[in-house]
Amino acid sequence: MSGVIDLWPGRASVHAAQVDTLLSGFTALIIALSVPVFALIVVFAVRYRRGKPADRTHPMNRNVWLEVSWAVVPFLLIIGFFVWSLMLFVDLHRPPADAVQIDVVAKRWMWKFQHPGGQREIDELHVPVGTAVKLVMTSQDVIHSLFIPALRVKQDVLPGRYTTLWFTADRAGRYALACAEFCGTDHSTMRGTFVALSKADFARWLAESDTDMTLAAAGAEIFRSRGCSGCHGPAATVHAPPLEGLYGKPVPLQGGEVATADDQYIRDSILLPQSQIAAGYPPIMPTFRNILDEEQVAKLLAYIKSLATESPKEPR
């Protein structure tokens, strides 16, 4: 930090600047609403102090129109800011389709990140500026919350489900990253660094980072070594749903409902296979809950996603 006390945290995105503008405008409004109260209390306390002569004729004890006006007018002004903030909030929930996905697994007390190219890092997150990045996050134990103050964003990270957070950083630099949801003993040490790099620097960083294979390739490796291919692979004899072209498509379920084959559905199908059974298949898939951790599941997901453009093989 530069000064003794900085009033604004560093800004690393357009969204951060918009949130700051919203806050400044809204603060101006609430000051305008409250200053008359503070000023009048002081003025009245001085002017109408007990024992002091003053014009006290015709004191008002009620005035419905006055009361309705000071209930309604501030409310309408505030509603304007509500709409503005709602629009920014909706943006946060609508990641662009071409966003680069980074998988995040939180566990007491560290942050693990996996890039699509297979690069992995702990408590440091490198991203390129000017590129939309989507974090798909889950927790291995309790609830955590990924907080990047310079982007003015935060999202809880839950066990058993995926939550997402997206942003476009526009200023290179090193910024704080922290867990904001109390997660036990060493909560306040669950901190890290958010590093926004220029595109060239980021490409260099990716190249220098140790990686044997891409995330999808690592997923294909698990797919074979853990025996998934025995049923879902092309040579399998078991009647199991084909995974080619599956990702993002509707899946008819036993019982008539239709699920979408998104990250959550595929994760649950691996770890909690009995919760949603695809129509027309016997419920024989075993759970991999005690075999695979969340990072491995993320790799498998990357592999299954990479099959999305392939066409299903002959039904088995």
Partner: protein, 561 residues
């Protein structure tokens, strides 16, 4: 005088709950003050007199206030350095959990209702006691059993989940005395329910003749609204705690996804209670402030019906805003939008109260005695707390400041700046009624000013810390935050001294204060028509009310210059 005394009639004899028959001999006894009616321990610990039970509560909540305050002092000392040299990580977590649990359930929730509500509700509506005097005594014992559990937890090492007990941390991972803490809160919840029920029945059935709903003091309206929340919300908390214990003890999967549960379900249940609980803490304070402002200005509260109805509106709408604690939890975006909107709606009745209090002062006869100073301090801090609450209701801003010091500062402005200031205001306003003695106006004014200044120095820097990105519940932090933390700790020192100050001069007044007389402030209200301290059964004959509340016209005419 707002009251004319009538001869005893059949009705007045029936009114006194708990005293079924009244004989001539007892009438003489009634004139003895409630403090002198019996000197044995038994006469205190088995009393059914609402005024004595109020004093039992006053001593107990003060005890817990200082235990909770000691935990806060430890935390503020620890936060002086970014490394957190004083406490271990575990020790810090236990300190803030204890601070939260004790302050919320053993101080803030019972503070004003169980002390001043208990003491004043019957006096204000012209009754001889609450509707169920024995239930009132039981509720104190239940509170103490819960309190003893808490003290036991304290001795045996504490609990480290935060007062929110979020799952699955609390149910599967935390290593402190979670089940014991849940039991303590479970038990104290029943005390809340009993008190709420007692107040509701009392207001409905024991109002003196002529004490119509439109003549109820606003203090009574706000306690009525509080009681509705106590009775409707507390059982939900009780259920949630039982579910946590079931998961922790027996591994029944309710909240932990590894057992097939849903962690967000707990947050919905918890905040369905705990957001209304914020209004349990602040509504009584709003009622106190209405009384203090009217008495200080010697004027009726501006817009009585708006102020009374706003208490009820806060109690009802307050049940519909819990999701604003969950904007970044993974809750649906559409749900968040609705909860954000409703959170702005619930601010409207609070705004009405503040504007109406200000209007009450217009053309008043304003006294700057300690109760008024505390009331003004309350309004100032409550306004800052309320308006920063609106900032938190703004979705895009909340995403940034949620779970940071901004939130910590906001709710301390409401609960400590607001409720504790009102608690001290009530103590200074009704102390002469409760004890029969006057205290030093100079010292009272000083403590009001120091509490206001110390509070702001403690908590205003925390708004800045929060926006800068300092997460709450952090024991070690980025060194860039240290200056603001040191300011905050310095303020806490002033605040701590200011909270201790009233002890000295109030205790001194018990022996050395001048007798107060029945109505030292020249205020309206039935409590000021009886002796100070009031006689054991409050009213020799049940009063008949013939005038509206806050009827200061007579005095106004006499000194309108």
């Amino acid at each position: 005088m707002t009251v004319s005394r009538s001869a005893p009639d059949d009705r007045s004899i029936e009114m006194g709950a708990g005293i079924s028959e009244k004989t001539v001999a007892e009438t003489a006894e009634e004139r003895i003050s409630y403090l002198r009616a019996g000197h044995t321990l038994r006469s205190w610990f088995f009393t059914t007199d609402h005024k004595r039970i109020a004093l039992l509560y006053l001593v107990s909540v003060t005890f817990f206030f200082f235990i909770g305050g000691a935990a806060a002092a430890l935390m503020r000392a620890d936060l002086l350095t970014p490394e957190g040299d004083l406490l271990s990580n575990e020790g810090y977590n236990r300190a803030f959990t204890l601070h939260g649990v004790i302050m919320v359930w053993f101080f803030l929730i019972p503070s004003i209702p169980n002390v001043f509500g208990n003491f004043l509700l019957p006096l204000m509506i012209g009754a001889r006691d609450l509707a169920f005097p024995r239930l009132n005594l039981i509720s104190w014992y239940v509170y103490m059993v819960g309190g003893l559990f808490t003290v036991f937890i304290l001795i045996t090492g504490g609990v480290d989940t935060g007062w929110t007990f979020y799952t699955p941390l609390s149910s599967m991972f935390a290593n402190g005395n979670v089940v014991l803490a849940a039991t303590a809160i479970f038990v104290v919840g029943f005390s809340s329910i009993m008190t709420g029920l007692n107040f509701i029945v009392t207001v409905h059935t024991l109002r003196a003749p002529g004490m119509t709903w439109g003549r109820l003091p606003l203090f009574v309206w706000s306690h009525y609204a509080t009681s509705i929340i106590l009775v409707l919300a507390t059982p939900v908390l009780t259920i949630s705690l039982v579910l946590i214990a079931a998961e922790r003890l027996f591994g029944i999967g309710i909240f932990d996804p590894a057992l097939g549960g849903d962690p967000l379900l707990y947050q919905h249940l918890f905040w369905f209670y705990s957001h209304p609980a914020v209004y349990i803490m602040v509504l009584p304070a709003l009622g106190v402030t209405s009384e203090l402002v009217a008495a200080a200005a010697r004027k009726p509260v501006f817009g009585y019906w708006f102020v009374a109805a706003s208490s009820i509106a806060i109690a009802l709408v307050g049940f519909l805003v819990w999701g604003h604690h969950m904007f970044v939890s993974g809750q649906s975006m559409y749900a968040s939008a609705v909860f954000s909107f409703l959170s702005l709606v619930v601010a409207v009745p609070s705004g009405i109260k503040v504007y109406n209090w200000t209007a009450t002062l217009y053309k008043g006869h304003i006294s700057l005695d300690p109760p008024f100073l505390f009331a003004m301090g309350f309004i100032g801090l409550f306004v800052v707390g309320g308006l920063t609450g609106l900032i938190l209701a703004m979705l895009a801003v909340d995403v940034h400041v949620h779970d940071t010091y901004f939130v910590v500062a906001h709710f301390h402005y409401i609960m400590v700046g607001g409720t504790v200031s009102a608690f001290f205001g009530a103590l200074h306003y009704w102390w002469p009624k409760i004890t029969g003695r006057r205290y030093s106006i100079v010292w009272g004014s000083l403590s009001a000013v120091f509490i206001f200044l110390g509070f702001n120095l403690t908590f205003f820097p925390q708004f800045l810390l929060g926006y800068l990105g300092m997460p709450r519940r952090y024991h070690v932090y980025d060194p860039g935050f240290q200056v603001l933390h040191v300011l905050s700790s310095a303020g806490a020192t002033i605040l701590g001294v200011a909270y201790l100050l009233p002890f000295a001069y109030l205790f001194y007044s018990l022996r050395n204060g001048e007798p107060a007389g029945p109505n030292p402030w020249g205020a309206t209200g039935l409590e000021w028509t009886v002796a100070s301290p009031p006689p054991k059964h409050n009213f020799e004959t049940i009063p008949v009310v013939t005038r509206p509340p806050y009827d200061y016209e007579i005095e106004q005419e006499s000194d309108a210059g």
